[in-house]
């Protein structure tokens, strides 16, 4: 099994009530597999991760990533809404 650090920002952090979790995943899993696991954690989680819309942005090790990105043990995956700085 791999251990993935998952972090949430802005409205996602607020809705889920947590800023960071550790998630165990099978070797070779991708971000889509991670979304499936997260979706099983409860209703709020399902709303965001069941079929992630275009407004769910994802980064892996602080680089923008795709749903198909394959994960490695120890990766940091971040989920956040579209950015609104400036």
């Amino acid at each position: 099994m791999m251990q993935i650090k998952v972090v949430f920002f802005a409205s996602f952090k607020e809705v889920l009530g947590v800023s960071e979790i550790q998630q165990a995943l099978e070797e070779g899993a991708c971000i889509n597999d991670l979304c499936k696991c997260l979706s099983d954690r409860g209703e709020q989680w399902q709303d965001i991760f069941d079929t992630p819309s275009r407004t769910v942005k994802v980064a892996c090790n602080q680089q923008m990533a795709e749903i198909s990105t394959v994960l490695q043990n120890g990766d940091e995956v971040a989920f956040f809404p579209p950015v609104t700085g400036g």
């Binding site: 972090v7 802005a10 971040a78 956040f80 950015v83 700085g85």
Partner: protein
Amino acid sequence: MPKNNKIIISDQALDLIALNEQIQTNQGESGASVIFVGNVRVSEEEQGLTGMTLEHYPGMTESLLQEILDQAMDRWGINQVVVAHRIGHLLPGEPIVFVGTCGLHRKESFEAAEFIMDYLKNRATFWKKEHYLVDGATKNLWVESKQSDLDSLERW
């Protein structure tokens, strides 16, 4: 010519005088410096706005901004850029972002500053939450991204 760039992310009020001084004193051979400051808007549209809170993704924000600055400096031959961005709690009218560019001519400096702002707004991992006081009750709203901001990237 030596190239300088500086990225500041701070939960303290931006010192516009110090930031401006930094741009003016390290201009080198550049003939044109441009400064942009974005503030928390105080207008009809934002009636009842009491402030906003900004959060960011530490580490990722800095590296994304660095990429944007590197691109702007290469493309327009800019020799100095300073970008400062607030996080934490801000009041109406307070500066959120400062961008200063120094280039050989004004066109390059203006365009580089606009490019940096357009990309910062669409790529840099900051999020704004607005606080309103409506009929005595506090309302907090996460700001949504705008299509017009996304469209602004097309010209680059």
